[in-house]
């Protein structure tokens, strides 16, 4: 159904809020836009209460603009900064309990497969480093072990931003944060390698400095999950508040991290690789025919 429920019932166009009418008329439902057209179409999320200069806010904007089928997508989040923005989008969002995202997504995805065996319904977890790698670690890992068919995107700001700046497992070693008054004693968790070892079929690490590449990575992660198994994106989305990054230096910081420990990395199973080659060749052919 998907599109049916977003479409405005005939005769009601004049009475629906303008934002909603614009979303249906000029938005992403049932259409595919290029990320470089950002700004020319009505976006799924336009308002958010994130801090000025928040890189995570930018990431989530690109994330929504990259959804291959927003009318058939459900986003799942947990406590943390991300959900403040995720919950404002025109895509169904589930906010459960602390760190439960990947368990909720497992149940939801299976339920949707039972009820709609012939449809693609994309389930995407967007949660922070604390939610996925600390409190929800077991559920994250086990959803991968079970090869659940949904995408997990970790927006890693290396800190518990929303609760006031406490150390997380993803904070770099040595950083002094609340609850680590003498500095963090152990290394940043290697989430990408864990995801590979646990059975993800598509794994990427990215500092969102290049929107085109980011959009492609997000689309790939969602499509691969639809057909093959769990997928994971580890995205660097700095916290300019807790890490005292001046607003105008946020992008520069990301570029620096990209040069050091956040170089773009993409890994996929042979099966997924073959699938994308096929899809992308078909796309090219279609464009050439045009």
């Amino acid at each position: 159904m998907g599109l049916e429920y977003v479409r405005i019932t005939t005769g009601f166009e004049d009475y629906m809020p303008k934002d909603y009418v614009d979303l249906v008329k000029y938005g992403q439902f049932g259409k595919e836009y290029d990320i470089q057209d950002l700004g020319t179409f009505k976006e799924l999320v336009e308002e958010h209460p994130m801090c000025a200069g928040c890189f995570m806010a930018y990431f989530i904007r690109v994330f929504y603009a990259s959804l291959p089928n927003p009318e058939d997508s459900i986003v799942i989040g947990t406590a943390g900064c991300a959900r403040l923005q995720l919950s404002q989008a025109a895509v169904p969002f589930i906010y459960g309990n602390y760190g439960d995202t990947n368990a909720v997504a497992s149940g939801l995805k299976r339920a949707l497969e039972i009820r709609f065996p012939d449809k693609n319904k994309d389930v995407i977890v967007v949660a922070g480093d604390g939610g996925l790698m600390d409190i929800g670690f077991g559920m994250t890992m086990h959803s991968w072990f079970r090869r659940e068919r949904f995408t997990t995107i970790m927006v890693d700001n290396e800190v518990y931003g929303n609760t006031g700046g406490q150390e997380s497992g993803m904070s770099p070693k040595g950083v002094q944060l609340k609850m680590a008054p003498k500095g963090k004693k152990f290394d940043k968790i290697n989430a990408v390698e864990l995801a590979k070892a646990a059975g993800c079929v598509y794994v990427a690490r990215i500092a969102p400095t290049n929107p085109k590449r980011l959009a492609k990575t997000i689309k790939r992660a969602i499509l691969a999950a639809r057909h093959f198994g769990p997928t994971f994106i580890h995205a660097y989305t700095s916290c300019n508040i807790e890490y005292s990054i001046p607003t105008e230096k946020v992008l520069e910081d990301a570029r620096n991290r990209e040069k050091n420990d956040f170089a773009f990395y993409e890994w996929m199973s042979d099966e997924v690789k073959g699938f994308f080659e096929q899809v992308e060749t078909k796309k090219k052919e279609a464009q050439e025919v045009k």
Partner: protein, 389 residues
């Protein structure tokens, strides 16, 4: 998988023919699941619950359920249950003592998320020290979650309550989870007679659109509450939204009472309503109390029983009425805190009539003789029991 035909809920629960079988409590719960048209079950092992979820797994293997898996641990299992319920399918899981506590955060959020799941609670000691025996203290933690809580006395109750639980949970004016508790081992691993509806009949499937909060399935606009966490509004909005939402949740739980009357014949069962002394008990303690009433009869004592089937919503009105003229009230329990005695004391006037006990804990049986000792005390009967201990 044997062919099953969908029949009307009221017909299946109230009128369908029944056949008598001699089975364990675990089997009784699984037999109810077989007839409940459950889509999906999620399991995590813990003694004594595991028997139930093994049998439900077999039902999935036979084709009665569409999906089933062994989860990572209880919090993961119960969170996945809430995800699946939001996806619109009918779900079931079961646990025991420590498992219930491990997953309690998820369970406590089910009513607020309007998850009409059915949860089996096969009671067990909560550590420490470690024991696997049936002590039902975990039920006390469940009482403040907003869920409907039923307490089964025996294998028959376990079958009836579990099947009815789905019908109650999915009523539009209820739509909160229903927990069906019964004692581990004493009921789960022991056999009793169960009159069961035909194997080839099942409940109608869940209709997720007949709901106060719709499913999240991209087929219908989602509920606003699921999108906007109240905390990101002003403090006042946050307070207000939470307050009205929880009021509605608890009102929904209360509204379950009319379906408890319809499907389970009411929240209490009374034996000998004109008794001088009443025993008020739930679960296995009610079974022991039934024996005590029999003993009393043989001894010419006027003793009655109030078996409490529904712990939430708690039948305050009904209990107050029955106990109006009781000289004394004995509340035997399988736990140290006496959660049922607290409920009874809070419900009736002159509550110094309530004897909170006997209580056994750690999972031992509750000897009828101990209940009788309290009855004798109230009635001023001097009794010497000649038994070697």
């Amino acid at each position: 998988m044997p062919e099953q035909k969908v029949v009307d809920t009221d017909y299946l629960l109230l009128e369908a023919p029944r056949e008598r079988k001699f089975i364990t409590g675990a089997q009784a719960m699984a037999e109810a699941i077989k007839r409940a048209n459950v889509d999906m079950a999620i399991a995590y092992p813990i003694t004594p619950q595991s028997e139930v979820m093994h049998l439900v797994g077999d039902l999935w293997a036979q084709g009665y359920l569409k999906d089933y898996y062994r989860a990572e641990e209880e919090y993961g299992a119960f969170s996945a249950i809430s995800g699946a319920a939001r996806g619109g399918v009918r779900v079931f899981t079961a646990t025991s003592g420590p498992g219930l506590l491990r997953g309690l955060e998820a369970i406590a959020s089910w009513p607020g998320h309007r998850i009409p799941a059915v949860l089996g609670v096969l009671t067990r000691v909560v550590n420490a020290p470690l024991s696997i025996q049936p002590d039902n203290i975990e039920i006390s933690y469940l009482l403040n979650c907003g869920a409907v809580v039923l307490h089964a006395e025996n294998q028959q109750d376990t079958f009836d309550f579990t099947l009815a639980a789905f019908a109650i949970a999915e009523q539009v004016d209820v739509y909160v989870p229903v927990a069906v508790a019964t004692e581990g081992f004493f009921v789960t691993h022991a056999k009793g007679y169960v009159n069961m509806t035909p194997e080839d009949m099942k409940l109608p499937p869940r209709n997720p659109y007949k709901a106060p909060v719709p499913p999240t399935d991209n087929e219908i606009p989602p509920a606003r509450i699921q999108r906007d966490a109240p905390v990101q509004k002003s403090n006042f909005m946050s307070y207000l939204i939470h307050a009205v939402w929880q009021q509605e949740v608890w009102a929904s739980t209360t509204r379950a009472m009319k379906y408890i009357y319809k499907y389970l014949g009411g929240p209490i069962e009374v034996v000998n309503p004109d008794a001088e002394v009443f025993i008020v008990a739930s679960g296995c303690a009610a079974a022991q109390s039934r024996e005590a009433v029999r003993y009393a009869q043989l001894e010419g004592l006027n003793v009655g029983l109030v078996k409490v089937k529904a712990i939430r919503p708690f039948p305050e009105k009904e209990i107050r009425k029955v106990l109006k003229n009781a000289k004394g009230i004995v509340v035997p329990e399988h736990n140290i805190v006496g959660w049922l005695a607290r409920e009874v004391k809070a419900a009736i006037p002159n509550n110094d009539r309530v004897v909170g006990g006997p209580r056994v804990y750690g999972g031992m049986t509750l000897p009828t003789e101990l209940i009788m000792d309290e009855v004798y005390k109230i009635l001023g009967v001097k009794k010497e029991r000649k038994v070697l201990v």
